[in-house]
């Protein structure tokens, strides 16, 4: 039963990783941009929520909407103002630009908020749980996180398949030049993709900020988790991203169960094993 509990905790943790991974996968899918600042943007969203909570004295869950909007606008602006130009110069220049932004974000956060760990206090919900048995306990907050992740992915899927802008996203992912010939302004579209990705990563950032603590240097590790989730699930597959997050989450919790502190290592090993034996990921789309 202890194992069952571990697996459940891992699944719930996976929902959090899927929230990070979805935005990363969207940006890569639509514009082939490897965004190395993705993790730092999630930390930035958490600090944003912290500032709102501090100044308005509201529950961080309410600040989430504000953080999503601000991160979305920020995403559009940085894409149109910087990343689009870097992408014109070439894929390597684009990666370097995101790397530079990551460093800047980390240092600005360090400057503004010091290196001390901070946390977001969501009140009683943080400690509420459902007791299934003596050994199986499900926390409400991790459960809500997973449900939110599923809802976000579902919403993203409906957006991509049913709306005019969503179809334009997919058309651009298929063939950017052909999409231009349909009257799709790819520079605007890339801005919208980054806005959407950062609004999603804001959810992840605020949720992880409630769940644990965060500091300005937390971004790179989250970036790695998000990448691992995307690669495990398979590029181009939305639900694969969720499964990838869950596989990673379960591996980490089980790893920590075997030996405290092994979690991250076991997660990486599972990722490497998948990369070695099934490099296209578990749910890679056949077409392309």
């Amino acid at each position: 039963m202890v194992w069952v509990n571990d697996i459940i905790q891992g699944v719930l943790l996976g929902g959090l990783y899927a929230l990070f991974a979805a935005g990363l996968a969207l940006v890569f899918g639509v514009m082939r941009l490897v965004n190395l600042a993705h993790g730092d943007f999630s930390v930035m969203a958490a600090y944003l929520a912290l500032v709102i909570v501090g100044s308005l004295n509201v529950n961080p869950l309410y600040s989430l909407v504000f953080a999503m909007i601000v991160m979305g606008i920020f995403g559009y602006a940085i894409q149109r103002g910087l990343f689009n130009f870097a992408m014109d110069a070439g894929p390597m220049q684009a990666i370097l630009a995101t790397f530079g932004v990551a460093i800047i974000v980390q240092n600005l956060l360090l400057e503004g908020f010091t290196a001390n760990s901070k946390g977001l206090d969501a009140g009683r919900i943080e400690n509420a749980f459902i007791r299934i048995s003596n050994q199986v306990v499900i926390g409400w907050f991790p459960l809500i996180t997973l449900l939110v992740a599923v809802a976000v992915l579902l919403g993203l899927q409906i957006f991509l398949s049913r709306t005019r802008l969503g179809r334009a996203f997919r058309a651009t992912a298929d063939n950017q030049r052909a999409a231009q010939l349909m009257g799709i302004d790819n520079r605007h579209l890339y801005g919208m993709a980054m806005a959407l990705a950062l609004a999603m990563v804001a959810i992840g950032g605020v949720f992880i900020g409630i769940r644990t603590t965060f500091s300005p240097s937390a971004g790179p590790l989250r970036l790695i988790f998000a990448y691992e989730a995307v690669i495990i699930g398979g590029l181009g597959s939305l639900w694969g991203t969720l499964v990838g997050g869950i596989v990673l989450g379960v591996a980490q919790v089980l790893g920590d169960h075997i030996q405290q502190g092994w979690g991250i290592l076991v997660g990486h090993l599972v990722f490497l094993a998948i990369l070695a034996f099934r490099p296209q990921g578990l749910f890679a789309r056949q077409a392309q």
Binding site: R164, R167, A168, R170, A171, A173, D174, N175, R177, A178, A179, Q180, L181, M182, G183, I184, D185, N186, R285, A287, Q288
Partner: protein
């Protein structure tokens, strides 16, 4: 004023010059064919018109407006649709979704998704299939239908017959009269001279980047075309 005016257009890729001092007029409502051998510069010409290649503003004018520097996505809104060589359908999207994307910046006009299905009944049968699995002819029909969804005033068709079996080419060209009757001006580029002469009101021939012959199909002799096509 002609719908499309091209004046003294020269352009190329890097050190390679593809077009030399081209002058071309396309009148409202006509069907104009540009023929020429492989590498004559036909596709390059269409790409300067649709905006994939930009030029000095005044080299290309549409309805009198200089558009040489207007980006491709904005030219769709002006009424120029380009059906590219190689079709470029969106492989992961269904036939229906491809058509919907074609109407992303729709102008007002007669072409709707139902009209396109009427024009190409085979597309209606395939509407929920991914474009990836379509045959070359089906993809070509889809590419043309997708171009029509924007309700263009000027439809640019690039090598419609390329890589298709003759019967399939016939089938695709059967749709042309309906497109022309709808009032759409068509500028098409073809290696298949026979097809081009059959439907075109006027023909221009490109030879190594230069326009060497222009006229009505009825006024041009077979010998003239052969001479212009092969440069003999």
């Amino acid at each position: 004023m002609s719908l499309l005016e091209i004046d003294h257009l020269s352009c190329g890729y890097g050190h390679f010059q593809a077009l030399f001092d081209i002058d071309l007029r396309v009148e409202q409502g006509e069907t104009h064919a540009v023929i020429g051998a492989n590498g004559a510069g036909k596709s390059t010409l269409l790409r300067t018109i649709c905006g994939l290649i930009r030029t000095d503003p005044d080299r290309v004018r549409f309805e009198g407006q200089p558009i040489g520097q207007v980006p491709a996505h904005k030219r769709v809104g002006l009424g120029i649709s380009y059906v590219p060589e190689g079709r470029w359908v969106f492989p992961s999207l269904t036939v229906h979704e491809n058509l919907l994307v074609g109407g992303h910046t729709r102008r007002k006009g007669i072409w709707t998704i139902d009209k396109v299905y009427e024009l190409f009944p085979l597309l209606a049968r395939l509407r929920n299939r991914q474009a990836l699995g379509l045959s070359g002819g089906e993809q070509q029909a889809l590419a043309i239908g997708r171009g029509l969804m924007a309700n263009p005033r000027l439809l640019l068709l690039d090598e419609v017959s390329l890589g298709l079996a003759p019967v399939v080419v016939e089938k695709i060209y059967e749709a042309m009269p309906a497109i022309i009757e709808a009032g759409t001006t068509v500028l098409l580029v073809e290696q298949d001279v026979g097809q081009a002469l059959k439907i075109a009101d006027r023909v221009s021939c490109l030879l190594e980047g230069r326009l060497v012959l222009e006229g009505r199909p009825s006024e041009i002799s077979q010998e003239q075309i052969v001479a212009a096509y092969f440069g003999v």
